[in-house]
C-alpha cells in the first residue's frame, strides 16, 4: 500500500442548507444539531476507517454552499479523490443545481478525466415528509450523468450516512487499484530504442 492512498480527500458540494455539514458531523461524530450555523469558507474533518481490510484516513471537506462564498471554496477542489454531490429531497431546486455543482467541481478541481472521476450523489433530509424530488428522478439523473451511485440519507436519524461515505471510499480505492494496474502497460521506456523496428525491414 503506498502512502498516497492512506489519505482520501472527499469533498461535499451542494446548495446551501441541504445538510452537508450535518452529514459530515453525523458521520464523524455521530451527532446532529438542527441549528447549525452556515458554513463559511471551507472546513474539514478526518475519520479513520477500514474498508475491505484497508485502513484509510477519510478527510471530509465541507464547503459553504452559498453563492457568495464561491471564491472561498473553489480553490480547494484540487486534489480531491471523490466528490459527494448533495441535494435535499425536499428542495427540487437543490437537485436541479447538481449539474452546476458538477460543472464547477470539474472546472476548478482540474479533473483530467471527468468521465471516470468518482462522483457520489446524496439526497439528504429523507426524514422530511414533503418530498419534492422522487427517488426515481434522482436515480435517472445519476444514470444519465455517468452511472453515479445514489444514496438517500438522513443526517438527522443517521439513515444511510455511513453507507454513503463508505461507498465513496470504495469507489476511490477501486479506481486507484485500476490505475496501479495500468501503470506498467502505460509507461513507455524512452531510454530503449525500439530495436525490433530495424530488424523488421
Amino acid at each position: 500500500m503506498s502512502s498516497k492512498s492512506s489519505l482520501l480527500k472527499v469533498i461535499l458540494l451542494g446548495d446551501g442548507g441541504v445538510g452537508k455539514s450535518s452529514l459530515m458531523n453525523r458521520y464523524v461524530t455521530n451527532k446532529f444539531d438542527a441549528h447549525l450555523f452556515h458554513t463559511i469558507g471551507v472546513e474539514f474533518l478526518n475519520k479513520d476507517l477500514e474498508v475491505d481490510g484497508r485502513t484509510v484516513t477519510l478527510q471530509i471537506w465541507d464547503t459553504a454552499g452559498q453563492e457568495r462564498f464561491r471564491s472561498l471554496r473553489t480553490p480547494f477542489y484540487r486534489g480531491s479523490d471523490c466528490c459527494l454531490l448533495t441535494f435535499s429531497v425536499d428542495d427540487s431546486q437543490s437537485f436541479h443545481n447538481l449539474v452546476n455543482w458538477k460543472k464547477e467541481f470539474i472546472y476548478y478541481a482540474d479533473v483530467k478525466e471527468p468521465e471516470s472521476f468518482p462522483f457520489v450523489v446524496l439526497g439528504n433530509k429523507l426524514d422530511v415528509s414533503e418530498r419534492q424530488v422522487s427517488s426515481e428522478e434522482a436515480q435517472e439523473w445519476c444514470m444519465e450523468s455517468g452511472g453515479y451511485p445514489y444514496f438517500e440519507t438522513s443526517a438527522k436519524d443517521a439513515t444511510n450516512v455511513a453507507v454513503a461515505f463508505e461507498e465513496a471510499v470504495r469507489r476511490v480505492l477501486s479506481l486507484e487499484d485500476r490505475h496501479e494496474h495500468l501503470i506498467p502497460t502505460d509507461t513507455v521506456n524512452l531510454h530503449r530504442k525500439p530495436r525490433s523496428a530495424t530488424q523488421c525491414c
Binding site: K4, L7, V28, N46, D62, G79
Partner: protein
C-alpha cells in the same frame, strides 16, 4: 585539531511516546511536531513539561514532505503532496486542535473572512492557510525574527510577509502577503534559510548568501532611466551579463562549451556578485510604492568540488544543514527588546559530510569556525551556545564562537588592555560525544534536543522507498549535471551511461541484501534530551580544567577549557539580556569568576598572550591586593612569578587606578619586583599606591640595584624622595647633589611620578615636588616643561599641578607665579603652534590682570623681560616709541608691562585674539595707552594711533611715524599726520615746540617723497613762507 573533552552538556533523556513511527520531526515554540511515517498526521508534544505530553493531534491535507515551525505567529508551514500536486500550507491556531474531532478551517492566503461570522462567535479553531504558488515549492524557511516565509521553487524564490489582521479586540488572525519574487536562472536551491533580510541558498555543492536591501527610490536614478525605454534597459543588463560570462566569472554550469573541472571557490562580500547566479527581484507588495526598491546585495558564495580522483561522489560531498543564526547584543536597547530590529550579528552555517563551516556575515564577511567531524555527519544544528551534530551513531556537541564575535561588536574595548575575550579564531572543541544507535533526525528548540533513531533503515523498505528514490534521482541528476559541466553528455556516451547505472546498481544490490534481515517490530525511538544549565556546565568545565592545570599549570588545554567556559557564560548573558535579574546576577558573578580564572591562567604564562592577564583581572572585579594574594599563593606551587602577573602588576601600578596598598602588600610588591624585574623598582617605588611601603626597605633595595650597575639618575631621585619621606635631610641633599639639574630633568621625564601622582582631578604633587617648589623652583619648572614637551603631562594637568602645589601660598592672583614661570619657560621651549597660541593667550591675560591690579604680587619671576626677549622670538624688541610712552617709571608692574609690550612687538601674538582681554585695561595712564596704541597699530589702525599719540604724548609721534609708516602707509605722513599737526599748531599756537619739530620732521619726509607740485598742493594757505620754503627747495632738488 579538534579537542575532544568529556563534559556533560546533556542532563537527561526521555522517550516521547509517538503513536506511529515518525517520518519528519521538527520543533519550535516549546513544542515538538512529529509527522507520522505515512505523512498525513501531525502529533504535537509539549517539550517544556516532564514526560512531554501530547498537546494535540491533527491531520494534514496531504502527505507532508517538509515541515517548519515559526515561533513568531506560532504557525507550522508544510510542503504537502496530494494526488501528484504540491501545496504550501500554513497551519495556524493549531493549539486549539486539542479535541481531534474539531473542524478545521481552510482558506486561501489573503482571503480573510472579515464578515459576520467572526463577529458573532469567535471561532477558536485551527485554520489552514493555503499559499498558492506559480511553481511547485521545493523548500521553505521561516524568519525567526519576523515570521516571514521564504519559498524556493525551480525558477524563483518567493518572500511572504506575515501579517496579523485584527478582527476584533479579542481576535486577530494570521495571514501572509506575497511581497517579493526573486527570479533565478538556471540554478535552483535545494535548501533555503531566511533571517532578517538575509537569504541563504544551498544546492548540492554551492552556497549563496544574499541580503535584501530596501532602497528609497532615488529621484536621480529614476530620472536617468526615465529617458530609456524599459526593454533597452533590460537588454543592456543582459549584455552586461554576457560580457561577464566571457570574462570567465560565471560558474561551471554556464559554460557548457568548456572543459572545466569544478573547483573550490570562496567569494566574500561584494566579490560574491561574480558567482554568476543572477537574482532579479520583482516587488509584489501592496505598498510597493512606499517600500522603495529592493536590491540584492551579494554576501557570500562558496562552492565545493567532490574529489573525483579520490573516488568521492557528489553523494559523499553533498551539503546539508544550512542555517542562518542572528544574535542581538543589546547594544540597541529598544530593538533587542522587541527583537525586530536588525540583529547585531548574523551567522550562516552549512555542512559537508565531514566538515562544517560557520561564517560571520555582518560588518566583515569571514569564516569564523571550521568543524572537522570525527565521522560523517548526517545533520547539524547551530544554537546560541552549541553546534549539535549527529552521525550514524553519535550525538556530538561542539562549542561555537558566536558570543566571541558578538562581544567584539558589543564592546569596542575588547582586545585592549581594558577588556578581553577569547578570540573567535580559537579552535572549537567537542565537549561531548554521546553514543546513540541509528540516529536519523536531529532538531533543537531552546534547551531541548530531539533525536529520532531507527535501528535499521533498510529493513523498512516500504516507508523508505520514496525517500530513497528521491536520493537516487537527485544523485543521478547531480552526477549528470557534473558530467555536463565538464563537457560530457551522459546520454550520448554509452560508456558513461553504463558507469552511471552501474554505480547505482551496486548500491541497489547492497540494499536488497540487507532487506533480507528480519524486521523488528518497533525499531525506532524518539528522544528528548534536555541540556544542563549554563552555570552547571560552566562549573563542570572549570573543574575539568583543573585536572589539566594540576599536571601543567601552563597547559593550553586549561586555558582553552576556561575560555570555552567564559564564552558559554557570555552567550548565556546575551540570551538573558532581558531575563530575570536574579539569574542574571548569578551569571554575572560566574562571569567575573571566569575572568579571574583566565587572569590566573594568563598570569602564569611566560610568553604568548601573557598580557591578557591584565584585562581579565580588570574584568574580574578583583582588587590588586586580591590578585597579588592569589598569585603569591600560586607561586608557592610553581616556582617564581609568571610574566603575565608581572605585566598585570606593572600596568595596574603605573595606570594609577589601583587602591592604596597596605604596608604588607606594598612591601610584598617590592619583594616581587626585586626578584622578578629589579629594573622596575624605581618606577614601582614612585607609584601612588605604594606610599605605604617601608621607605627604608625600599631604599635598601634601590641601593642594591644601583650597586648592580643600573642607570643612576632616576634612582638617585627616587632615593632622595624616599629620604624626604623619612625626613632624612642629609641623604636627600646627598642624592640631589649627585647629578646636574639638566640630567635630573631627564630623570623626571623617565619617571614623572617622582613629581606628581594621579591624573586629571585627583592630580597630586608629591613630597619631592613640594620640596623643589621651596628649594629649586627653576628645576621644578624645567622638569614640568620637559614633561609637557615629552607628552607626559597636558597643559591643563600642569595648571592643576601648580595650583595644587601653590594653593597655600598667599598669592592674590589666580595664577601662581610658578605657573606663570612655567608658561613662560614653556613658550620659550615649545615649537607646537597650538600650544604657543594657548600660552600667549594665558600669559597676556595674566600680564593684563597684573597691570590692572594695583597690588604687586611680590613674587619674583624666574625670567625677566630681558631674559625672555633675548631667548625667545615670540617676545620682540620694544619699538623705540614705546619706551618714550612708558619710561622706566612704573616699578611695580614694570616687568609684566614690558613682557606684554614685548609680546605685542613680537611676531607671534595674534592681536585680534586678545582684544576681549583688553577691555578692563584703561588707557588713561601711559601703560594702558601704550598697550592700546600697540594693539591698534598691530591691527593697522594707524590713524587711530596717530590721534591718540598727538593727543596724549606728542613727543612720541615722530618716533612712531618713523617706525611704523613705511611703504603703503608712507602716505599717511602727509595725508594724515601733516594736516593733524598743522591743525593742532593752529589751535595751540606757534610756540608748541614739540608740535613744531614734529611738523618739521613731517615736512622733511614729505619733501623727500613728493613731487614739487604735490608738495605745493600740500602746503597750507596760511603758512609762513620762510618756514616752508626751505622744504620746498629741498623737494625741488
Amino acid at each position: 585539531m579538534v579537542h575532544v573533552y568529556n563534559c556533560h552538556p546533556f542532563a537527561a533523556q526521555r522517550i516521547v511516546s509517538a503513536e506511529q513511527e515518525p517520518g519528519l520531526v521538527c520543533c519550535g515554540g516549546g513544542a515538538l511536531f512529529v509527522v507520522s511515517a505515512g505523512g498525513c498526521k501531525i502529533e504535537a508534544f509539549d517539550l517544556q513539561r516532564e514526560e512531554s505530553p501530547v498537546i494535540c493531534r491533527f491531520s494534514c491535507a496531504g502527505t507532508v514532505l517538509s515541515l517548519q515551525h515559526s515561533a513568531v505567529g506560532d504557525y507550522l508551514v508544510t510542503i504537502e503532496e496530494k494526488n501528484n500536486a504540491t501545496y504550501l500550507r500554513a497551519y495556524t491556531n493549531w493549539r486549539y486542535q486539542a479535541v481531534e474531532k474539531t473542524r478545521v478551517g481552510v482558506r486561501l492566503l489573503g482571503h480573510l473572512l472579515r464578515g459576520s461570522s467572526f463577529r458573532g462567535a469567535p471561532k477558536e479553531q485551527m485554520e489552514i492557510i493555503e499559499i498558492p504558488l506559480f511553481e511547485p515549492p521545493l523548500c521553505v524557511a521561516c524568519c525567526s525574527l519576523t515570521g516571514d516565509l521564504l519559498v524556493g521553487s525551480a525558477k524563483s524564490l518567493v518572500v511572504f510577509s506575515l501579517k496579523r489582521q485584527t478582527l476584533s479586540e479579542q481576535l486577530s488572525v494570521l495571514d501572509f502577503e506575497r511581497v517579493l519574487i526573486l527570479h533565478i536562472q538556471g540554478w535552483s536551491p535545494s535548501q533555503v534559510a531566511f533571517c532578517a533580510g538575509y537569504l541563504a541558498l544551498q544546492t548540492e555543492l554551492e552556497v549563496l548568501v544574499i541580503k535584501l536591501v530596501q532602497q528609497q527610490k532615488s529621484a536621480q536614478t529614476a530620472e536617468e532611466n526615465a529617458l530609456l525605454p524599459v526593454d533597452i534597459m533590460v537588454e543592456t543588463s543582459l549584455e552586461d551579463d554576457a560580457e561577464m560570462k566571457k570574462d570567465g566569472f560565471s560558474p561551471l554550469h554556464e559554460q557548457e562549451d568548456f572543459f572545466v573541472f569544478p573547483k573550490h571557490q570562496e567569494m566574500l562580500g561584494s566579490e560574491a556578485q561574480h558567482c554568476g547566479i543572477t537574482l532579479v527581484p520583482e516587488c509584489t507588495a501592496m505598498d510597493s510604492e512606499s517600500r522603495g526598491e529592493t536590491t540584492v546585495v551579494y554576501v557570500l558564495f562558496r562552492r565545493f568540488a567532490p574529489d573525483f580522483f579520490q573516488g568521492c561522489s557528489v553523494e559523499e560531498t553533498r551539503l546539508h544543514s544550512l542555517q542562518l543564526h542572528p544574535i542581538f547584543t543589546g547594544k540597541q536597547e529598544e530593538s533587542s527588546i522587541s527583537r525586530c530590529g536588525d540583529p547585531d550579528c548574523m551567522f550562516v552555517f552549512f555542512s559537508l559530510p565531514n566538515t562544517g563551516y560557520m561564517y560571520s556575515l555582518k560588518s566583515s564577511v569571514e569564516l569564523v569556525s571550521t568543524y572537522q567531524y570525527p565521522e560523517k555527519a548526517h545533520q547539524a544544528v547551530l544554537s546560541d551556545q552549541f553546534l549539535y551534530v549527529i552521525t550514524r551513531n553519535a550525538l556530538q556537541c561542539f562549542t561555537v564562537r558566536c558570543s566571541a564575535v558578538a562581544a567584539r561588536v558589543q564592546d569596542p574595548y575588547i582586545d585592549t588592555t581594558m577588556k578581553a575575550c577569547p578570540p573567535f579564531s580559537m579552535e572549537v572543541c567537542a565537549l561531548r560525544i554521546q553514543l546513540f544507535i541509528g540516529l536519523k533526525v536531529l532538531c533543537q528548540d531552546g534547551d531541548h534536543i530531539v533525536l529520532l533513531t531507527a535501528a535499521d533503515v533498510d529493513s523498512k523498505e516500504n516507508t523508505e522507498r520514496p525517500a530513497r528514490k528521491n536520493t537516487e534521482w537527485r544523485e543521478h541528476r547531480a552526477l549528470t549535471g557534473i558530467l555536463l559541466a565538464v563537457g560530457l553528455d551522459a546520454t550520448s556516451a554509452p560508456t558513461l551511461e553504463s558507469l552511471l547505472s552501474k554505480s547505482f546498481l551496486s548500491r541497489k544490490s547492497s540494499v536488497c541484501k540487507s532487506t533480507e534481515a528480519p524486521d523488528s517490530a518497533h525499531g525506532w525511538n524518539l528522544y528528548v534530551i534536555s541540556s544542563v544549565s549554563t552555570l552547571q556546565l560552566y562549573r563542570e568545565i572549570v573543574e575539568y580544567s583543573k585536572r589539566y592545570e594540576q599536571s601543567n599549570p601552563c597547559s593550553q588545554s586549561c586555558v582553552h577549557l576556561l575560555s570555552e567556559a567564559h564564552l558559554l557564560l557570555r552567550s548565556a548573558l546575551l540570551k538573558l539580556q532581558n531575563g530575570p535579574a536574579e539569574e542574571k546576577q548569578e551569571l554575572l558573578e560566574a562571569f567575573q569568576e571566569s575572568c579571574a580564572h583566565l587572569g590566573d591562567c594568563f598570569s602564569r604564562f611566560d610568553k604568548k598572550d601573557c598580557h591578557l592577564a591584565l584585562p581579565y583581572y580588570k574584568m574580574s572585579g578583583l582588587t590588586v591586593t586580591d590578585v597579588i594574594q592569589r598569585n603569591v599563593s600560586m607561586s608557592g606551587v610553581s616556582s617564581g612569578y609568571g610574566r603575565g602577573f608581572i605585566f598585570f602588576l606593572k600596568h595596574s601600578l603605573y595606570e594609577e587606578t589601583v587602591e592604596e596598598l597596605s604596608k604588607d602588600v606594598a612591601d610584598k610588591v617590592l619583594e616581587i619586583f626585586s626578584v622578578a624585574e629589579p629594573a622596575q623598582l624605581p618606577h614601582v617605588v614612585c607609584c601612588s599606591s605604594m606610599l605605604n611601603a617601608d621607605p627604608d626597605g625600599a631604599g635598601a633595595l634601590l641601593e642594591q640595584l644601583e650597586a648592580s650597575g643600573a642607570p643612576s639618575i632616576t634612582l638617585a631621585l627616587c632615593r632622595a624622595s624616599l629620604a624626604l619621606r623619612t625626613g632624612d635631610r642629609h641623604t636627600y641633599s646627598q642624592q640631589m647633589e649627585r647629578h646636574a639639574e639638566m640630567l635630573q630633568v631627564y630623570g623626571f621625564i623617565e619617571e614623572p611620578r617622582l613629581l606628581l601622582h594621579g591624573r586629571g582631578v585627583g592630580l597630586m604633587p608629591t613630597l619631592l615636588a613640594q620640596q623643589l617648589r621651596d628649594s629649586q623652583d627653576g628645576l621644578l619648572v624645567a622638569a614640568l616643561v620637559a614633561l609637557h614637551e615629552n607628552s607626559r603631562i597636558s597643559l591643563e594637568d600642569a595648571h592643576l599641578f601648580f595650583q595644587e602645589l601653590c594653593k597655600d601660598r598667599l598669592e592674590p592672583d589666580s595664577s601662581p607665579q610658578l605657573l606663570v614661570d612655567f608658561w613662560e619657560s614653556l613658550l620659550v621651549a615649545s615649537s607646537r603652534e597650538s600650544t604657543i597660541q594657548e600660552l600667549l593667550f594665558r600669559l597676556v591675560s595674566v600680564y593684563i590682570s597684573r597691570i590692572t591690579c594695583s597690588h604687586p604680587s611680590g613674587c619674583k619671576a624666574l625670567k625677566t623681560a630681558d631674559d625672555l626677549i633675548n631667548s625667545c622670538s615670540h617676545y620682540g624688541m620694544l619699538y623705540p616709541w614705546v619706551s618714550i610712552l612708558t619710561p622706566n617709571l612704573y616699578h611695580d608692574q614694570q616687568e609684566d608691562l614690558l613682557k606684554l609690550q614685548s609680546l605685542l612687538c613680537g611676531p607671534t601674538l595674534q592681536v585680534s585674539s586678545i582684544l576681549p582681554l583688553l577691555e578692563p585695561l584703561s588707557d588713561s595712564d601711559d601703560p594702558g595707552l601704550s598697550v592700546h596704541v600697540l594693539c591698534s597699530t598691530k591691527l593697522g589702525q594707524h590713524e587711530d594711533s596717530i590721534h591718540r599719540l598727538l593727543d596724549r604724548c606728542p613727543q612720541a609721534i615722530i618716533p612712531y611715524a618713523q617706525h611704523q609708516l613705511h611703504h603703503h602707509t608712507l602716505c599717511l605722513w602727509w595725508q594724515k599726520l601733516f594736516p593733524e599737526v598743522c591743525d593742532r599748531i593752529r589751535k595751540t599756537g606757534n610756540d608748541n615746540t614739540i608740535l613744531l619739530s614734529a611738523l618739521k620732521e613731517t615736512l622733511i619726509v614729505a619733501a623727500r617723497e613728493l613731487t614739487p607740485l604735490e608738495f605745493l598742493d600740500l602746503l597750507p594757505d596760511d603758512g609762513t613762507a620762510h618756514f616752508f620754503l626751505p622744504h620746498l627747495l629741498e623737494c625741488c632738488q
